[in-house]
Symmetry: C2
Subunit: 402 residues, 2 copies
């Protein structure tokens, strides 16, 4: 090595060292600034808790869409003015607002002052969904009786004693347990359940008791971080168009709706049969499809780790969803699929389509493939631009976690 080369190496390593030192200095400034950000978020939380108290006093709802739209418009204007990326600013504030709504729900902001507390029996109160609803009803000021296989409180006693009976038991046993316990309920009680099929359980509750019957189906599992913003289907046992006074003489529907909204849930009204038809798609088709995908991967004997090295965001999301599915209890999924009256039709069409598409691909028939694409694209219609936009947002959120 010549002398001048040594010199220039020395100079370059000096300049790298000096760059490192200056980077460390700037990073200290960033840490100070980040601390200020976090402190502002805490101040914001104090303001939110004050608003929560006011909303509660004035019986105002947690979520105010017009206010949220106005805020997003204001933030977008600021982003433009300060030359910050608008999608990032929007994403950050969406997270802040979501967290703020969760916080208001924790503070029981939407708990209506005028709704009397009830004695609620949760049959299956030690299961994961049963516990979730027990906590939620308790936090609304109700007295909750948890009964399960191992509790000292016997289910029969709890049912006889309660004003509201919620069946939160495995789907395969729901109708048997209803038949056993529903006759013990008070005639002025509310019978409800959280089973993933509705025709069978609602019919069983009507058949085996005199109480008011409203089925429910929470469209989320115990694995979600928060109930806030999730959906729940309500299927009253009486005809929605008929006089509700006959089906609901004690006014249970408004009580249940108010309670579920106060938990942060969004309500979807349907009939038991309408619910089951929709669930043949929302649950049966998508669960079956995920199961076929997961089982195929396992059967093909691939190395998951090796494929993840090559992952696209789409494949990664598919793998997250498939692994999530199989990490949960098989009994629940078995029941959802075996109990739905429309399952046979759904799996039959799926298999026909799998044959059709395999044939087109094997024949390298580009025209037929393109026709299929056009027909399905038309099916998705107006949903497609929204799907592109929202899936892009999800992909960004995944990439930023890598």
């Amino acid at each position: 090595m010549s002398e001048s080369e040594t010199d220039s190496n020395q100079a370059s390593s000096d300049s790298i060292e000096s760059a490192r030192r200056k980077v460390a200095e700037q990073r200290g400034k960033i840490d100070d600034l980040d601390r200020q950000l976090v402190e502002l978020l805490q101040e914001r939380r104090v303001l939110v808790s004050e608003i929560a108290a006011l909303k509660r006093a004035g019986s105002l709802p947690i979520r105010d869409d017009a206010r949220e739209r106005a805020m997003h418009a204001l933030h977008a204007q600021w982003a433009e003015e300060l030359e910050l990326p608008p999608t990032v600013i929007e994403g950050l504030f969406r997270m802040v607002l979501w967290s703020s709504r969760n916080y208001q729900a924790q503070l029981r902001t939407a708990v209506p002052a005028g709704v009397a507390s009830r004695r609620v029996a949760i049959i299956g109160g030690e299961g994961s969904m049963g516990r979730q609803f027990a906590r939620a009803f308790e936090s609304l000021g109700n007295e909750v009786l948890r009964a399960d296989l191992d509790t000292s409180l016997r289910p029969a006693e709890a049912v006889a004693d309660a004003q509201v009976v919620l069946f939160a038991v495995p789907i395969a046993q729901t109708e048997r347990i209803i038949a056993e316990l529903a006759p013990l309920a008070r005639p002025d009680a509310l019978l409800t359940d959280i089973t993933s099929v509705k025709a069978g359980p609602v019919a069983a509750m009507r058949e085996h008791g005199e109480a008011t019957v409203i089925g429910t189906h929470p469209l989320f599992g115990p694995a979600v971080n928060s109930m806030q913003g999730q959906r729940i289907v309500l299927t009253p046992a009486w005809d929605a168009d008929a006089d509700a006074r006959e089906g609901d003489p004690h006014g249970w529907l408004p009580w249940l709706e108010t309670s579920l909204r106060a938990m942060g849930l969004e309500l979807v009204r349907s009939t038991p049969a309408g619910h089951d038809r929709a669930m043949a798609i929302v649950q049966v088709l998508t669960h079956y499809s995920t199961e076929v995908l997961g089982r195929s991967l396992q059967r093909l004997g691939v190395s998951l780790e090796e494929t993840l090295r090559f992952t696209s965001p789409i494949y990664y999301i598919d793998m997250l969803m498939a692994a999530r599915h199989f990490a949960q209890r098989s009994e629940l999924y078995a029941s959802i699929q075996t109990q739905n009256p429309n399952t046979e039709q759904v799996t039959a069409v799926f298999r026909e389509v799998a044959e059709e598409l395999a044939g087109i691909i094997s024949a390298k028939d580009g025209d037929a493939f393109s026709e299929v694409f056009d027909e399905v694209r038309e099916f998705f219609g107006e949903f497609s631009p929204r799907a592109l936009d929202e899936s892009r947002y999800l992909i960004d959120r995944l990439v930023e976690r890598r």
Copy 2:
């Protein structure tokens, strides 16, 4: 209505009015605070641009994992201290850091001072991927020649004139276009492509020219918001274990790797055959599965809107992904599936599994169903807890957008 009722209605409407007024006051304070948040984010951006300049001068990389871990640990500590929800604080800062890395990439922080600029011909330079890479190579200081069907610059001229030739043409035409143009390239040039299959195009580039050959496959499409953090597969035409000097006498691989990293991409090294085997899963299986799902929905004649009323987060993600798929060009997907040498095996296993599972469900065979679950759960293994965690995060991000 009695007089006292009127009074009490009046009083209650007064108190609602007063609550509304106070809420509006507090909201003004929140807006002021949000403005401070946004201004801090802008200050942060200035600090980031200063760091970017230092990193560039010192040839330091954009992403520093140890620094990011230290920051997340610090933020978690602050969240605990100030009683803020740790997952929200982490999520917010992940978005801030991701945006900061994007910004540094825009500022060309990682553009190495020592890499000479080249004349890069993009064949298919008017396509969506071609344009994306043209911009990226330009922003690194290269001279880019865009040639396409309608450009005044003829592809043959561009190839003869360039030091680097990138084929960014539809997959079905890639080999034909390579056969036509590759012989015109300079022997010391680099031939590369961005096709989703690798064995065919890489063999064609080797066969029809004397130039150095490195295939690539970007694992993302033109619909992503940013290339930062996305992956790209590199498949050099020579044996990785052999002496690279023979396959790469002009040192193109380090040039290409440095350039792609400077675009913010993460590199995955493989061979053409290894790539195609992995893609039979990552692309063929998941695309086929999505197509079967979308086609089934359309065939079942359901109302998408009605099912979305009942949507669970899982169904919604499935619908986003399916609609996204069919909103894109069918030619690309047709080619990916018809050109992969392992497609037949993949679709055959998928159909077998669809039959197997439909049989189990139809027979209501809970034991067999549970066995399938156990086997597939074992396949996902260690990935499952991560999948539960990350899918929960995604679901939260979706719910907050509703």
